[in-house]
Each structure stands twice: as structure tokens, then as C-alpha cells.
């Protein structure tokens, strides 16, 4: 109550502003009266879905729910933590938000997200992908609803492979390095691997038997200084050198699909959906893209991959929780999941939907890799590790000549400190 007075004063000043300039405050389009529909605000992340999928969903949903209109907004990954936090803490939040599966735990534990435990059965939660369901669950309560998953594969340029005389994709790391070195000649880059693709590095570390951080009793410890992690980044360094990927940047800067689209890059590590972006950048590459799982140390087991993906949450501050649930239900339901999986080459949220992926080269490669899927350390503080770019900076330092053990120790200390913070 104490802040009422200044607030009133602020409002008065506001009136002054409006009077002086003739520019009143822009009022929000508020639903008033029974005739006008309820507008739900839904946040999806940049590049999560193609425009086509979004448009079809909007049309379908609005047809099925005549009283509801969807305002679907695309959010940028950059600074998303701050944005979602502001939204959760506000009094009038968006009604449904897509959050990455590495970040959902933090929001779920904040108290600003609606508990949907009693809806799990209704949503068919018995065969949800664990990589999406687990992070959305805190102390037995389900806050995040699994939405879609994807893991990385190698996308390659068939023409360049043929030109280099490689007729079958590599099955082991050694073959992979050998083939890539063979490809990396003349004007061709063997592989375009930016220095900060940390999900790929995580895979290499897992292959060695290491991890990004480990939990010992109650405490977390950063693990980038272990021999396994050192071996992982050594392999990353060898691979990265077989192309011209910038050492100080990630796959978004510049967009790696655009780089690949120029036609002189033989391989790229990306979710299969990245192929669509490549074909958009250079339609001439249509039909010339191949896919294979990231090779492991031996031929019988593909390389470890990070199971990426997203969950859906409904903020406590949503003003239309019931309608919001309808949206979540539709997004997590079979019709949308099937459409999305086909168009985006994603893994659907339930294993029983997985059959839609059969017969697709890209998703077959992804499914093969998914057998060896891993998750980032399950801590509400992990999002802060990502936000501080600890691993990305560590990678750049090592790739530009830093000692892997020393730098790994420094980065591990930072990770340890962040993960053991009480919130």
C-alpha cells in the first residue's frame, strides 16, 4: 500500500505528458463485452516452427474454438530469460509460453508457472519423452508439458562427397576425420563447425564417458577439467580445424545454413530441420542434402547427442488459464504433433506418435542418434550457466590456443559456483 501515493503521482505526471504532447497512452486492445472473442497470447521461439505450421495451427484452433483468438508472437532467443521472467512476474502474462528444455526447470521452480499435474493423464503423459517430461517436473509436480524434441545430425552435401570419392557416410570418428580431411581441399570446407557449438562438444564429452557437471551428494561440480572432457575438446579441435568455422562464434552468427548454402561446405552439424533453412538459402541444393548420425567412437554405437527440445508452460499470471490449457492440449495432441513432426523433422512429444517419422532419411538419422541421447545437468541453475556463456567462452579460449586442462579448470570452477547457488 505504501507505494500507492507515488504511483498516483506518476499517473498524474503521465496525464501531464499526455496533455502536453497530445499523445495519449496506447491502450491495449481489451476484450470488452460478450461479443468480442478472448484473445490468447502465445509465445513461440524464433525458428521453432515454420510459418506454415503456425498458420495451420492458428486456423484449426480458431475454427474449433470460435470464442478464442490467438495472438502468436515469435520471441528471440537472445535475452529470453529476462523476457520470460518479466512475463512470469507480471500481472497479465502471455497465456502459453514455449521454453527450452534446459530452461524449464528454473521457471518451474520459481512459483510463477501453473501446476498441471492433474492434466497429465488427459494429455497422454504416460509415454512422454523423458528428456522433455523430466525437466518440466519438480518435486513430483508437472509444470512443463513436453512439446517436441530434436537432436543433431550431420547434414552433408552429396555432390561434394561424390567429388571427393566418398561413397558411404563415415561410421566411426576416425573415418569421419579421414573423410573430412579428404573433403577439406581447394575451395571446399570439409566441415563448417563454429567454435561455440557447445551442444556438439557436450556430445563428444559424453562419448568419452565424461559430463559437463556431476552431482556429488548435494553438491554440483563442473567437470570440464576431467581427462574425458579434455579428450572431448581435443576431438572438437581436430574436427573444427578441417573447415573455416569462426572460433569465436556459434552456429547462429553467421547463420550456418547461409554459409552452407554457398555450396562450398561439405558438412554441417544441425538438427535435421536445418535442411529446410539451407534449401531456402540456396534452392539449388534441393535433393543434394544427405544426413547421417554423428559418428561414435566405434561403428556399433552412434555418437552421443544432446536431446534438445521444448516444453510448454502456462504462467500463473495468465488471465485465461482454461483457454490456455486448451491451446496446450491442442499443441501437445496428435494432430498438431504429426503435422509438426513431418514438416519440421522433429521428434514428437510421445513415443506412440513416432511412427510418422518412418521413411524419412533425415529423421531416420536423427532417430539413430537419439538412441544415445543425453540431457544437460538437471539443475534449476543450469540456465544461468548458459546465460553466462561459460562453455562457449571456454571453447573459444581453447580453440584459440588455450590449454584445455587449465581453461577447463577455470570454466569448471565457474560452473560449480553457479550450480551450487541457492535460489
Amino acid at each position: 500500500m505504501r507505494y500507492r501515493l507515488p504511483a498516483t503521482a506518476a499517473a498524474l505526471t503521465l496525464g501531464l505528458a499526455a496533455g502536453l504532447t497530445g499523445c495519449g497512452s496506447t491502450s491495449q486492445p481489451q476484450a470488452s463485452g460478450s461479443a468480442s472473442p478472448t484473445t490468447l497470447t502465445v509465445w513461440f521461439m524464433r525458428d521453432s516452427l515454420s510459418d506454415g505450421v503456425v498458420d495451420r495451427f492458428r486456423t484449426d484452433f480458431q475454427t474449433a474454438h470460435p470464442g478464442v483468438r490467438l495472438d502468436i508472437q515469435i520471441q528471440e532467443w537472445d535475452g529470453i530469460g529476462q523476457k520470460v521472467t518479466s512475463a512470469l512476474a507480471s500481472k497479465d502474462a502471455p497465456d502459453v509460453i514455449e521454453v527450452g528444455n534446459t530452461q524449464v526447470a528454473e521457471y518451474a521452480s520459481s512459483g510463477g508457472v501453473r501446476d498441471l499435474t492433474d492434466k497429465v493423464a488427459d494429455l497422454g503423459g504416460s509415454d512422454w519423452l523423458p528428456g522433455l517430461a523430466e525437466p518440466g517436473k519438480i518435486d513430483g509436480h508437472q509444470y512443463g508439458i513436453p512439446w517436441y524434441a530434436a537432436n543433431r545430425v550431420v547434414i552433408y552435401n552429396k555432390d561434394l562427397f561424390a567429388k571427393a570419392g566418398i561413397d558411404a557416410p563415415p561410421k566411426t570418428r576416425d573415418e569421419w576425420i579421414e573423410d573430412t580431411a579428404k573433403l577439406d581441399k581447394g575451395g571446399v570446407q570439409g566441415i563448417y563447425l563454429p567454435g561455440q557449438n557447445w551442444y556438439t562438444l557436450a556430445g563428444f564429452v559424453w562419448d568419452e564417458g565424461g559430463d559437463l557437471a556431476v552431482k556429488e551428494g548435494d553438491r554440483w561440480r563442473g567437470a570440464l577439467d576431467t581427462p574425458q572432457a579434455v579428450a572431448g575438446i581435443e576431438f572438437y579441435r581436430r574436427l573444427q580445424a578441417l573447415g573455416k568455422g569462426p572460433k569465436d562464434s556459434d552456429e547462429a552468427k553467421p547463420p550456418q545454413a547461409d554459409v552452407f548454402g554457398k555450396g562450398d561446405v561439405a558438412q554441417l552439424i544441425s538438427a535435421p530441420g536445418g535442411a529446410a533453412a539451407i534449401e531456402k538459402a540456396n534452392p539449388a541444393l534441393k535433393g543434394k542434402l544427405g544426413f547421417f548420425p554423428i559418428p561414435g567412437k566405434t561403428a556399433d554405437r552412434p555418437g552421443a547427442v544432446f536431446t534438445g527440445g521444448s516444453d510448454l508452460i502456462i504462467p500463473e499470471a495468465s488471465r485465461h488459464p482454461d483457454e490456455a490449457y486448451e491451446v496446450v492440449k491442442a499443441l501437445a495432441g496428435e494432430k498438431f504433433q504429426t503435422d509438426m513432426a513431418k514438416e519440421m523433422s522433429y521428434v514428437p512429444n510421445r513415443t506412440s506418435f513416432a511412427s510418422v517419422l518412418s521413411g524419412n532419411e533425415a529423421t531416420a538419422a536423427m532417430a539413430a542418434g537419439a538412441a544415445n541421447g543425453h540431457a544437460t545437468p538437471n539443475s534449476a541453475n543450469w540456465a544461468a550457466v548458459e546465460a553466462k556463456n561459460v562453455i562457449k567462452e571456454y571453447m573459444t579460449t581453447v580453440l584459440t590456443g588455450g590449454d584445455p586442462a587449465t581453461e577447463g579448470k577455470a570454466a569448471s570452477d565457474v560452473i560449480t559456483a553457479i550450480l551450487n547457488t541457492k535460489s
Binding site: Y3, A10, A17, L20, T21, Q82, S86, A252, P255
Partner: protein, 272 residues
């Protein structure tokens, strides 16, 4: 010999100050293929407007442009009006607390705005003022107020009080004297002072990002620019075109008003 050295130095200053801006514009006109080539060409040999088209066609460009202009102009006008009154009191009147007020204005300039983000967010939320351009307007108003007061005070101090006194002698009231004598002389100063406010408000990103949450249509240009430079994965051509478009209004205002700003600063510093 001295001439040559002098002119070389001047040339160096000129090149250093102009090149980055030139490079922005040049990149904006260069086709993507050439931007991605290994040897940059210093001149867009095959100029294209594609990047500008991309930038302008990006969702909501015109709405964001209008929002930015509305917020910026409102904030600047409000700051000018409030600062004018205060500056007059400081420059022309003697009163108890005057020095305290001046000190407050100066201290206000040291405010760490990035740190006030959270409290301002909480206050706005509790007052139901999130998602409103008017909240941004108020924040920008206060951000620019201290500097506006300092500068305007200099301008007022530069106008001889005798002119005003003469008008008072002629039977004008104080307000009339101010309106008829001081205000006309002050007009250029007012315009130029508004520049600083204009730039500050035009640029602001953090508050715009935190206080406009749900209402996508209420975003401002800096937010839009950041989506280009940070997330689109840096399509450099379009980003530079966007930066050019972002800079243009400021540049235009600046070219017209620049000279008067500096003279105002002198008055402020020398006359007190």
C-alpha cells in the same frame, strides 16, 4: 611543413570518424554475395536496395518506428517543459535550497539506470503500467531531465537579465516578460537541448525490453534492431540497412541543430 602535418592529422581524424559510418552505409548497399566474399570491396560496385527492402519489410517496422517517435518526442517535450521551469528558477532566482537542487540535478546524472531496471519494473507492475508506451515515456523523461536542466540553465543565463527587467519596467508581468522576451531568445536553445534527450530516448533498449512484455505492437525500434543484429544470426547486409534507417532521423535532426548545442554548453559552463 607544419601545414602538411596539420592537414594529415586532420585527415586522419576525418577518416577515423567517418569510416565506420561509411562502412555501415556501404555494406547496406552491397549484395550479400559480395559481403560474404573474402576480399571486401571498399565501394559497393553493384549497389542494391535489397537489404533495405528486407529491413523495411520486417514485421512491424513502421509500427515500431511510430512507437519510437511517439515515445521519444513525448519524453523530450515533457523534459523540456519541466526543465525550462526549473532552469529558470535556478538561473534567475535566489532561493533557499537552490544549491541543494543543483546538486540533486547533478547527482541525478550519475544514476545507474541499468540497475534501476528491476525496481522500475516492480513499480510499473504494481501500478498496472506494464505494456504501455506512456510508462516508457516517463522513464525516458526522467533519464533526460537532468542534462536538459543543466543545458537550458546555461542558455537562460546567457540571456542578459536587463532585457527582462526592461520588460518588467514597461509594466509586463513576470510571466509576460518571460514569454515575450526570454522565450523567443531561448527557442534555438530549446531545440538544440532536445537533441540529447532525443538520442538518449531513441537509443534505449533495456527498459523497452523489460517494460513492454505482452503487447508486441508496442515495441520500439531498438528492440527491432536487436532482433536483427543478435538473433537473425546477423544477416550483415540487412543489419546495416536497419542500422542506417535507425540512425537517419537522429542524423537529420543533428545536422540542423548541432551548432547551437555547443554554444549552449559554453554558456552553461562559463556563466555557471
Amino acid at each position: 611543413m607544419r601545414r602538411v602535418t596539420l592537414n594529415l592529422a586532420a585527415l586522419a581524424v576525418l577518416v577515423v570518424s567517418v569510416f565506420p559510418v561509411y562502412w555501415m552505409a556501404a555494406t547496406a548497399f552491397t549484395p550479400t554475395v559480395d559481403i560474404l566474399s573474402e576480399t571486401p570491396s571498399l565501394w559497393p560496385a553493384r549497389p542494391t536496395l535489397d537489404h533495405f527492402a528486407t529491413a523495411v519489410r520486417a514485421a512491424g517496422f513502421w509500427a515500431f518506428w511510430r512507437n519510437s517517435l511517439t515515445v521519444t518526442v513525448s519524453a523530450v517535450l515533457l523534459a523540456l517543459a519541466v526543465a525550462l521551469l526549473a532552469a529558470f528558477a535556478v538561473a534567475r532566482m535566489r532561493w533557499r535550497g537552490r544549491r541543494g537542487f543543483i546538486l540533486m540535478v547533478f547527482v541525478a546524472q550519475t544514476a545507474p539506470w541499468s540497475a534501476l531496471l528491476v525496481p522500475v519494473y516492480i513499480i510499473a507492475r504494481d501500478a498496472d503500467m506494464l505494456d504501455r508506451l506512456s510508462t516508457l515515456t516517463l522513464v525516458y523523461f526522467v533519464t533526460t531531465l537532468p542534462f536538459t536542466i543543466v543545458t537550458l540553465r546555461g542558455f537562460i543565463a546567457a540571456i542578459p537579465p536587463e532585457l527582462e527587467e526592461a520588460a518588467l519596467m514597461d509594466g509586463c508581468g513576470r510571466a509576460a516578460a518571460f514569454r515575450r522576451v526570454v522565450l523567443p531568445l531561448l527557442a534555438p536553445g530549446l531545440m538544440s537541448t532536445s537533441l540529447f534527450g532525443f538520442i538518449t530516448a531513441w537509443n534505449e533498449f533495456a527498459f523497452a525490453n523489460a517494460l513492454i512484455i505482452k503487447d508486441q505492437g508496442d515495441r520500439t525500434l531498438p528492440i527491432w534492431l536487436s532482433t536483427f543484429s543478435n538473433v537473425f544470426g546477423t544477416d550483415w547486409g540487412a543489419t546495416m540497412a536497419a542500422a542506417t534507417l535507425f540512425m537517419l532521423p537522429v542524423l537529420l535532426v543533428f545536422l540542423v541543430l548541432q551548432r547551437r548545442v555547443t554554444s549552449g554548453m559554453i554558456a552553461g559552463a562559463v556563466k555557471g
